[in-house]
């Protein structure tokens, strides 16, 4: 914005003697710009390559240089650094170096113990869960880590006003420290997703000493068990942590400090990586990644997401989410055939390849193929069949093109996808989408109030399928923005949450997906891929299916000239 032009007290002399000079300069500048690129034919697209998962830049065979200050570019600013109240995913990036969890997930997406020593032991009736915890761990402030500390933390997750964790932990009736290093959790009804929840923020253990001192303000200076401990936070700018000498596995920690620098612009993250000002950068844009791969000295980690992006269709959310469903009298809301036709007229593969340079994956269900709970049913996809879609609509006696208003967030990436989607579904004349872009905060509001016909939003994904389905698809679910309410699905989801056998659960979730693909309250479209770039003078960076970039084991390495 140039400052508002100052209206001068009439310059006495503004006569110029060279007519058209400026216009001439401008015209020639344009001409030169045009002439720089000679006339050329259309440039053809390259075919989409296969994408393979790369989750780890291994330290094996590298010469480690102890110490050093690592800088990571974070794509968004974390919210409160308080595992109990945090609701931003980026907070996990920072917290995972400071706050270890009872459980963790490994490269293959399996749950493994971290501060617990074994996977939880579940009683016959599924109501009592016993977790043994580490005996060698100490909080960064010197407080002792034991079963009582675990109890206190879980209690806070459950009962603190404004806790985001309470619903993740399920219907707990009591938490007890049965001995110094054993915790016992009792449930009202069996709750299988607990272990996965304890591998996320709900499993982060907080120092009782710090909790007593800081109370609600714990997030201002969090204290946990972890390889690094909190140093300071400069709002909007950075968060720094330093090596914790009290950490039980301190000898495998190589870095002195880690600074998370907040750089929201994808281009600028890439530029800083190139210049070596940052060593790791998350969420590289599919627009930049191909160029980055070509560069010497930059490595890429890529892993598919557990979440999804999709279209939520309003079936009965008339009074806001959580309220009893009402009736919406449109063919889209009333007739499953219309929604089926919409799903069939979307060429997910082609869309993803065009809009995201084939870096993202098409998706048809809430269960990622990366998840241990994937099954044949959950992998199934409705056919791409635009003619079939038109036929389906005609059969139902619906005039084509059927007009739908789609609200989307006005982030550039989403908008590009929306515009491509709009063009794609209108190709055979089946549908005509009107895109209504709204600001993200407004979209959340619209979604929750049910003030939409169809909207496009995503879900970041949880390790356990329960977290990706129950709240969205069950009657009265806290995120059931569609107002979808089918007894069969409710029953299946409840059974799946209570079943303790993984294969049985996968089977049940598969059945839910099958039903959802008939009813289409949500039309799943694609999954993003977490793209992380790092400079090759470091190693040990890991990123798993939860999308979190792990820096705990990172070390600077001697330059052997060899690229991974």
């Amino acid at each position: 914005m140039p400052p508002t032009p100052f209206t001068p007290p009439a310059p006495p002399e503004t006569r110029s003697r060279s007519p058209f000079k400026l216009a001439g300069v401008f015209a020639s500048a344009v001409a030169v710009a045009l002439a720089m690129t000679a006339c050329q034919p259309l440039q053809a697209l390259e075919p989409a390559p296969e994408r393979e998962e790369v989750t780890t830049a291994s330290l094996d065979g590298k010469t480690i240089v102890e110490g050093g200050d690592l800088v990571m570019a974070l794509s968004a600013e974390p919210d409160r650094l308080d595992p109990t109240t945090s609701s931003s995913l980026y907070t996990r990036y920072v917290m995972q170096t400071m706050c270890q969890k009872l459980y963790d997930i490994d490269a293959s997406g399996e749950l493994i113990p971290q501060l617990a020593t074994e996977l939880p032991e579940v009683s016959e009736d599924g109501l009592t869960i016993t977790i043994p915890v580490r005996q060698d761990a100490v909080f960064a402030d010197g407080a002792e880590f034991n079963a009582e500390a675990v109890r206190q933390t879980l209690d806070r997750h459950l009962n603190l006003e404004g806790s985001s964790r309470a619903s993740e932990l399920g219907p707990i009736t009591s938490i007890e420290a049965t001995d110094e290093y054993t915790v016992e959790i009792t449930y009202e009804t069996p709750f299988a997703p607990l272990t996965a929840a304890l591998a996320d923020r709900a499993g982060m253990m907080l120092s009782p000493q710090a909790l007593d001192a800081a109370g609600e303000n714990f997030g201002d200076s969090p204290v946990c068990v972890g390889p690094f401990k909190f140093v300071d936070r400069v709002p909007q700018t950075s968060i720094s942590v330093e090596r914790d000498p009290l950490y039980y596995d301190a000898e495998n920690v190589h870095l002195d400090t880690i600074t998370y620098r907040i750089i929201t612009d994808a281009n600028i993250r890439a530029a800083n990586l190139r210049s070596g000002d940052v060593h790791v950068a998350d969420t590289i844009s599919p627009q930049d990644i191909d160029a980055l791969i070509q560069e010497d000295g930059i490595g890429i980690l890529q892993v598919g997401s557990l979440g999804y992006q999709g279209l939520t269709i309003n079936l009965g959310n008339t009074d806001g989410v959580g309220e009893p469903v009402g009736t919406i009298d449109t063919p889209l809301a009333q007739e499953a055939a219309v929604r089926m036709a919409l799903s069939m007229s979307i060429d997910r593969e082609a869309l993803v390849n065009t809009v995201f340079n084939s870096w993202y994956q098409p998706a048809c269900s809430p269960i990622s193929p990366e998840s241990p709970f994937t099954s044949e049913l959950s992998e199934a996809c409705p056919p791409f069949d635009p003619e079939g879609a038109v036929a389906l609509l005609e059969e139902a006696g619906i005039e084509t093109p059927y007009e739908i208003e789609m609200q989307v967030s006005n982030a550039p990436d989403t908008l590009r996808f929306a515009q491509a989607l709009q063009a794609a579904v209108s190709e055979e004349g089946a549908f005509s989408l009107t895109i209504v872009p709204v600001e993200y905060s407004t979209l959340l509001d619209v979604q929750s109030r049910g003030d939409f016909e169809m909207l496009q939003l995503g879900w970041s994904g949880r390790v356990d399928p329960h977290g990706n389905m129950f709240n969205f698809l069950s009657t009265g679910g806290g995120n059931n923005y569609s107002g979808y309410s089918v007894d069969e699905v409710d029953t299946l989801l409840r059974e799946a949450a209570q079943a303790t056998d993984d294969d049985e659960r996968a089977e049940l979730y598969g059945q839910v997906v099958e039903k959802i693909q008939e009813d289409n309250p949500l039309i799943y479209l694609y999954r993003v891929r977490s793209l992380t770039a790092y400079t090759t003078n470091i190693a040990g960076v890991e990123t798993f299916a939860d999308g979190v970039v792990h820096l705990s084991n990172v070390a600077f390495i001697e330059n052997e000239g060899a690229q991974p």
Partner: protein
Amino acid sequence: MAATEIAATGTGPDNGPGNGSASAGLGSARGRIWRSLRRNPLGIAGGIMLALVVLAAVLAPVIAPYDPTEVHFDAPFQDPLTVGYLLGTDDLGRDIFSRMLFGMQASLQVGALSVLLAVVVGTPLGLLAGYWKGFDAVISRLTDVTLAFPFLIIAVGLAAISGPSLSNAAIALGIAQIPTMIRVVRGETLRIKESDFVLGARTMDASGLRIMAQHVLPNAASAIIVQATVIMPVAVIGEALLSFLGLGIQPPTPSLGIMLSDAQQYIFRSPTAAIFPGIAIAVICLAFNLFGDALRDALDPTSTSRSRSGKKNRK
């Protein structure tokens, strides 16, 4: 912003009351304006650029080779001068040239709407404030409050509140410009009110409204027009800015600001996509600035007389 505080009183500092062209016949004034404009080559250049820009925008549906929202999945990121795409294509294979033409149309629409709003609301308030002291206190406080918020804050706030769209962007930008318009008109009114012929009309018992309509408004017209040419480029850039921030015109409707914010996503892959829309904005604003400068010189009799004497001095 407050800059125009000086503009408002601006004609004031060194030209005493009664120095205005007020009593000069309208016909001769028009002739003088034309003569002055014709003698100003930069002004002519601005006028021609302006005509071309307006023509291109109005004729966009005719000139544009493609629908601006037409997606070509097989031809994204084409360079300029590629066969079929004069200025290349963007990430979705949409023709940049076509989008630019329609974007200019949107820019001018927003600009014109916000100028209209500023003039329609600002002029009567400015007249009232300048003519009656009672109104002055109220209106001046209100303009003070509005002026206390920087332009962008008002525009961002209004656009966020009313929801982003072309008309809301225009309204936000227009409202942000109303206070300066009020001040300009108020200043002019204060000046003209003291001139001999208004004093004369007053002694003849003409009503305030009548004096305003017959004497004040016509004589303040030139200042209003000049201010309009000042607002226009500000509004055009403002539209681009709001759209760039996601608070203005919404995709798929093409706008120069949206083209820029899209292009910023893939600027390293295809820098030209970011260059052309920027040039278009600059050309529109340059045209208005050049033309506005010339118009100001032509319309403001004091400046012409001064520059004439200035010329004499130099000889």
